[in-house]
Structure formats: C-alpha cells, structure tokens
Symmetry: C2
Subunit: 320 residues, 2 copies
C-alpha cells in the first residue's frame, strides 16, 4: 500500500491573484515528489503544505511561459540555502536549460546538490519499476508538454489458502509465484494465476499544461484516476480560449468524459474569475466528478481496487 | 499637503516563510510608486495592497542576490499582461540589465511599456523638483546600495496678514515672494522671510538593503523620518551577522539612534524567527521607536511641522 497524494501549489494562470498563486501541481508518492510547473511563489506554497525541500524530486515543466516557470529559480536557491543534498531532476522543453544555467550564473547560486536538467522530446520521460512518466505535445501557442504519471500495476492478491490447498510449501516457491513466475511442483505446472487474484491496476494522473482540447490528448489521458486540466476560461469566453490557445471549463470536462477519466480538477484560472464555482458548475454538467481546484487543495488517491475515488471522497479530505 | 505612505511588501531575508514574503519595500508619494527591492511574490503583495500596476514607478535594486530580485520578472510580465502603458524605471548595480534583458528574451515577454534600466554608481540616482534619491555603497558580501529618499523642502507659510500690513498688493508680487524671490515695493526691499514662516523640511526615508552597520551609513541615514533597516539576526547571533555581512536588531537600532532617525522599521528577518517581537524588544532598548515590520504593514508619514511621527501613531494605522 503506497500513498499517493495530489497537492495544488498554485491555481492561477498568467497572472496571480490575491488568493491564487501561479500554476503548480504536485504528486507525492511514497516519499517522492513530482512537481508539474513551478509558478512564482511555489516555494512558499511548499512551505505552507509542509512538503520539505529535500525529498527525491522530479520537476516537469510544460512550456516556456513565465507564469509556469518563474518560481523555479527561488525554489532552487532556497533548496540550496536549506542545504538540500539530494539530486534534483528537471525536465522540460528546449530553453529550460539555458534559463536555469544563465540565471544560476547571474546570481552565482552555489548549489549543494546535483542539478540534472533534461530537455526532453515527446514520449517516455522517466521510468522506474514503480512508475513511468510520459510527455505529449499539446496544442498551445508555443511547444507545451502535457504529462501523465502512470503507476506500475501491482500483482494480484496471493491467496495463501489456495497455495496451501495445493500443498505448495511456503518459501521460495511462494515467492516465485508472487513475482509472477510459474513453478513446477511434484511434476505439476502451477501458474501464478492459480493462486493469485487479478493484476491490480496502478494509478494514473494526467496534467494538461496549457492547451486547446484535442483528440490525441483525450487518448493520452485515457482512464486517468485524476485529470488536472487547465480551465483558463468559462464557457462564455470560448472565443478568447480559442484565440489564446486555452481551454474552457466545458472543454476540460469534455476531455475528462471522453477519456473516461474519473476526477477532473480544474485549474489555471484566468485572474478575472474571483469565484471559480461557476466554472465548476459548467464542467459538472458534462462530467459530474469535476472540482474547481484551489491553492493548497490536497487529497489522497486510493488504488482503484481498494476504494472508489469519488468526488465526495475528495471533498471530504479537502474541506476548505 | 502631499501624502507619503510606506508599505512593506515582504519582510523575509534569503528564504521566505509561510507568513513572510521575500524582501520588498515601497514608498507611495502622491501617485508615484517607489519600490526598493523586488523579492519573489511582490506582484501578489502589490495586489493584496491594491497598489495597481500602472502608476509612475521607479524600482531600486540593492544588490544582485536572488532574494532581493526574483520577483521582478513576474512583476514586469504581469504589468505587461495588464497593459501597463507608463514607462518603468529600474535602477540597480551592474548585472541588473543583463538579468532583465536575458530573461525577457528567454520568455519572449512582449512589453507594452518602455523599460528604462539604469545601472547606477553611488550618488544621486534620481532628481525631480519634488524629491531626490541617493544611492550609497553599503557593506555586504557583494556590492549593495543603500538608498535614501529625500523630499524637497517646502517654502514656509505665507502670512497674508503680514503682506497686507506692509501694503503689498495681492497678485504677482505675492507669487514672487512665495516662490522665494525678494521684491522691491515702493522703493523698499522686501525679502520672502519678511512675510513667510520658516522653510518646512521635506520627509526623508532610508532603506538599508543588506549590510553590516557602518559610520558612513549612519551619516547617510542622518535624520530620517523613517529608517527601514535590515535586522536579519537577533543580537544572540552576532557572529552569524558578521560572517554573513548582515546586521542584528541591536545594530540596526544603534544606526537609527546615532543617525538621529525617528522611526526604525526592522525587516529582512532570517526565516529562523517565527516571532520577531524579541528582535523588536532588543532594538527598543537602544532606540525606543523601533518596530518589527511585517508583510503588508503600511502607514502614512506626516510632515514634521504638521504632526509628530510617533511609534504609537504608526501602530494605530497598522493594527494587524
């Protein structure tokens, strides 16, 4: 059982407001931190949410617009001042390396930790035995990557009673079966499926960055447990959304619905919306499980086979 | 009668805290905005304080450390997104121009307004008929400018009764006297001082940036109405203050006292201090009118000849 938590560090697009920091989303899985975009003041939001500055951390940048990146320098500087010693991985489109290196040089920031910057192309960005993270070109005014975080499937439950009934002795043979390997016992072939339940799916989280909706993104976000999608504008501002390569609340909800995603979190709101509830309402008409995100909103995502992730379960955890 | 207001946009040094933004101070005189350092999230603090993004604005940077500057890019970008049309003046040490230009280039920020960047040397930085702003080298690990804002003196009060008693007819002759020129009337020389009160002093505000205390800074801050001085450490951390080229609360208070400044505002606190009241207490033992600054603290500074600026007058205006 590995905890997976989502935290919204900032939910504003382009310009912050007095109550919303610029865009930044995070996943914490086990002790590892995955940050998607680093809007200004992310470091303060991390402090408020007691995330800490020395976790194993991967940062993914969607695109080279200031509102999505400008908190990165302060974050790197603060990590260094607070004596981070773990390497920091930063992934993003071309330009991210020049931005970091030139500013670290201008401010003569002395890093105590290794900074690994990877300018990535679409496709697999990170892979471990526990998860994979993929980038996909979205549809914005400049190159923007949407990301998905896909947790590896877990093997099915091991039924001790079944194994015992078949007379298989506890020990190395059980381990082999648990690790997905068939065994031969007393001349008989025994497959993992003979003593184990169905493979249990890992969790999938999608993060849109800035984008117009598209069919290929819908496929990319297929069956997300949680889809964090930009909703810069309300449906009334459809023309603006098209002009500025953004999505409306209805468009985000349509992507969530058509991708068979479960919970939709709307974010990256234009500063014109003091109240984002009307955008949530618009989205809910299309995709019932839609929630307007807000700064420091955080909730755990359960495994699908253990608990159903419902809107009310999210809201229970995040009572404002 | 011209209003002059001080606002602290951020009061943290090096690293922000969950309640303190990074360092930034402002003076608003009439409609003009003067910002001293631009720590991360200054734009949000400006929004909270309803300062607006399109005032005539001069920004003064003390030194090229990230905690004093990193909010500048977001501020410039937001001003542009919100369609600022007035020129923006930025003054600072060498390096500030490269920082701004290279990042504006990286993010392809399209400016709607004229950006005038001046890398200054110590001495007079700005002069108008209403005020002068001077920079002085402080004593930090890298080149740091302290600044003083000095308002021009106002002429003394014009005593109508005296002018009438001397038989001088209302009109151009009165104007000449009011503008400080002597006149000849019915063969007699009449000096402005014959019909006017004493020259009324303008207000003076000092802002230290990051520095160790010094005799030359004490002279520079001579007779400030308000001195905003860094107090990174409490007196117990004197060794750290020396090692890192900062001041303690007692040192800030000693500068305030020896410069015959009136109100001392302590700021740029190390993130180790959750409560800054103990630092205020230490300062008050040396300079009674000392106040620990906090984010969004703001107060008006009256003319010396109209109202005495006392600590209680400041606190009345700034009830937390």
């Amino acid at each position: 059982m590995t905890d997976l938590k989502i935290i919204l560090f900032g939910t504003s697009g382009a310009v912050p407001t007095s109550t919303r920091n610029l865009i930044s989303n995070a996943i914490i899985r086990d002790n590892e931190l995955f940050i998607f975009d680093t809007g200004e003041a992310i470091q303060q939001s991390m402090m408020k949410n007691k995330v800490g500055m020395n976790r194993p951390t991967h940062i993914f940048i969607s695109h080279m617009h200031g509102d999505h990146i400008l908190g990165l320098l302060g974050l790197v500087q603060t990590m260094s001042l607070l004596l981070r010693d773990k390497p920091l991985f930063i992934y993003g489109p071309p330009g991210i390396s020049r931005f970091l290196k030139s500013n670290i040089n201008i401010f003569k920031i002395k890093l105590n930790f290794k900074l690994i910057i990877k300018e990535i192309t679409p496709g697999l960005a990170v892979k471990t035995k526990d998860y994979k993270i993929y980038a996909k070109k979205a549809n914005h005014s400049i190159l923007n990557y949407s990301y998905v975080f896909i947790e590896s499937n877990r093997p099915g439950k091991f039924y001790v009673s079944k194994a015992k009934k078949m007379g298989i002795p506890e020990g190395s043979l059980w381990s082999k079966l648990q690790n997905g390997k068939s065994i031969r016992y007393k001349g008989k072939l025994i497959r993992p499926t003979d003593v184990m339940g169905k493979i249990r799916p890992g969790r999938k989280i999608g993060i849109s960055g800035d984008t117009r909706p598209s069919k290929s993104l819908t496929r990319f976000f297929s069956s997300c447990d949680v889809l964090i999608h930009e909703s810069t504008f309300s449906s009334e501002e459809n023309d603006l959304a098209i002009e500025r390569f953004h999505s409306t609340s209805e468009e985000a909800a349509t992507i969530a619905k058509e991708s068979s995603s479960n919970i939709l979190i709307l974010t990256h709101f234009s500063s014109r919306y003091k109240d984002t509830k009307p955008l949530e309402k618009q989205a809910c008409k299309i995709h019932r499980n839609s929630i307007a995100g807000y700064d420091s909103m955080s909730f755990k995502v359960p495994y699908r086979d253990e608990k159903r992730l419902t809107k009310s379960y999210v809201l229970e955890q995040t009572s404002r």
